[in-house]
């Protein structure tokens, strides 16, 4: 049995009384494509940020590719991780062409300039390949600032893909994409996880849109509620024929969406506890 690409044990984040994340346990093999859904403020983005090494968990452990993540090996381990953070409009309007933006995703981009002489050509091919995957190759010379929101998002995805990550973290990658592009994006991710054995974690809102593509869906609201149920609308053998044998068909029952059970409202529970104590 191979070591999982990502292994999270007993992870918690936030103050002990009102944790943002609590007792997260998760283990993902290479080639696994997982969707995370949950209500606003459930801690979805926080979980991705912790895995990406941006936040320190309050307790618990994260293992990437069999090695425990800590500040000293962070730089080396994160080279194998691609990260697409949530779209925001704070991006400064730097004058950059599309292929320059994608180049920023290469692992040696920030290396001193004298070490970059000579490796220009290799990157050029990789850049065009990454842009090709998101169908932006013909706009490679365009000014990034003049792109539409959806085009920018695809370029940002190409930037995450160019380093050929073993683990890809995506926070609402379909934001700003129309439904046709959304499906293309999910199909591309499915292909990457199947063919290149990429482990993918994707935070999304629309569960109906992703169930056809992912191996599993984690329902997150402070804790992970992991559901793996067979889809009843589409027979399993059809999906197996299309995507191969390792796929699990996952669907959610109506009660699961949002995963908010009456006794697990993150904001109310601590108050109840303190009331009881008094």
């Amino acid at each position: 049995m191979s070591t999982p690409n990502l292994n999270i044990t007993d992870l918690s984040f936030g103050p002990a009384k009102t944790p943002v994340l609590e007792k997260i346990n998760l283990s993902l093999e290479s080639g696994h494509f997982m969707g995370i859904i949950g209500p606003n403020g459930a801690g979805k983005s926080t979980l991705l940020s912790i895995i990406a090494g941006l936040l320190q968990p309050s307790s618990g452990q994260i293992e990437l590719f069999g090695k425990q993540l800590h500040p000293f090996n962070r730089h080396r381990l994160l080279k194998q991780v691609g990260f697409l953070n949530q779209l925001h409009d704070r991006e400064p309007r730097l004058p950059l062409r599309v292929h320059d933006v994608v180049a920023m995703g290469t692992t040696d981009y920030a290396a001193p300039l004298w070490r970059q002489i000579g490796n220009r050509g290799d990157h050029q091919d990789a850049i065009m390949q990454a842009l090709d995957q998101v169908e932006m190759a013909e706009l490679a010379e365009r000014d990034f600032r003049h792109l539409s929101g959806g085009q920018k998002q695809r370029v940002r995805l190409a930037r995450a893909l160019i380093r050929n990550p073993k683990l890809l973290l995506l926070d609402e990658p379909s934001a700003a994409l129309d439904s046709k592009r959304q499906d293309q994006l999910y199909a591309l991710l499915r292909k990457l996880s199947t063919e290149q054995k990429m482990t993918i974690i994707m935070v999304e809102h629309d569960i109906a849109a992703i169930t056809a593509y992912v191996d599993s869906v984690a329902c997150l609201n402070r804790r992970i509620h992991y559901h793996a149920m067979q889809g009843d609308q589409i027979p399993e053998d059809i999906w197996h024929a299309m995507y191969g044998d390792h796929i699990h068909i996952v669907a959610h029952d109506a009660g699961c969406i949002g995963c908010s059970h009456p006794d697990e409202q993150p904001n109310e529970q601590p108050d109840e506890h303190s009331d009881n104590k008094q």
Partner: protein
């Protein structure tokens, strides 16, 4: 033509031309980062705060430029760390420190005898009176700044573009920012000799601002920024010699004019493009 001949024949100008162009080159290189990271107010703050450093140097009779350098470095590092720890916004922090240390500087310098300090030279710059030791100091600063740019410019650039993704790809973002602030502080001190405390920001913002309309990549911006800066400095020096105007102010004025031309040029260029696409 005679104007140029006179200019290049003058010994004062010959001696000040090289340091002036050196400063123009280094500040133009840094100005790309200043604009990308929106640090123009930091340069205002640090340049004014350096008056306190100069005042301190005068009062304790320490060497002027080294003392000012250390002081500017401390101030910029303080500004880089203060906002996070105290919940004060960065611009308010800069504003307070800027006023406070300027006040301290004025008091310190006023206690020194009037003839010791060339206050106007400090405030508005005087490249014509550069001494060999000062030139040496400028060369050291230039070497440090250019070395940091060669090493870290790509990292700084990607942090300016998207700090979160930069951090997620393993860059130590907060350390790099700290270094950027420090190097910006050093650049400010270089500028003070040429443009003076009051006009320093002009040299650290205008070259890249001119280039911003035309550049499409880090290398392009840098090259354009350096070209604008060298042209502006040379033009400013020649005019200041010919008209007997203060050199620092004339250089900044020349750069301002170039900014307006660059702006107008890019506006016309866009109009022409629109017109072309409408016609075809």
């Amino acid at each position: 033509m005679e104007m140029f001949n006179q200019f290049f024949a003058s010994q004062v100008m010959q001696e000040s031309l090289v340091p002036a162009l050196l400063i123009a080159f280094v500040t133009a290189s840094m100005s790309v980062m200043v604009l990308a990271h929106r640090l123009s107010f930091l340069t205002v703050g640090v340049s004014h705060a350096s008056l306190a450093g100069l005042g301190l140097a005068v009062t304790l009779s320490l060497p002027l430029l080294p003392t000012a350098t250390v002081f500017a470095l401390l101030i910029s590092l303080l500004l880089a760390t203060m906002p996070k720890s105290q919940d004060i916004t960065e611009d308010a922090g800069t504003g307070m420190l800027f006023a406070g240390s300027m006040a301290l500087g004025v008091i310190l310098i006023s206690t020194a005898s009037r003839y010791e300090v060339d206050l106007i030279g400090l405030l508005f710059g005087n490249i014509l009176t550069i001494s060999p030791t000062e030139l040496q100091w400028l060369l050291i600063l230039a070497a440090i700044i250019m070395a940091s740019l060669l090493t870290l410019s790509r990292a700084w650039w990607s942090i300016a573009f998207d700090p979160i993704t930069a951090a997620a790809s393993g860059l130590p973002v907060s350390t790099m920012r700290l270094v950027l602030y420090g190097v910006t502080g050093l650049t400010v001190i270089m500028c003070v000799k040429l443009a003076g405390i009051v006009l320093t920001t002009g040299l650290l913002v205008l070259p890249a601002a001119c280039a911003w309309f035309w550049g499409r990549s880090l290398a392009g911006l840098w090259l354009l920024s350096v070209c604008f800066s060298l042209t502006g400095t040379l033009t400013g020096l020649i005019i200041s010699y010919h008209k007997d105007w203060p050199s620092g102010a004339t250089i900044v004025m020349a750069l301002c004019l170039m900014f307006i031309l660059s702006w107008g040029g890019s506006w016309l260029n866009q109009r022409a493009k629109k017109y072309k696409s409408q016609v075809s």
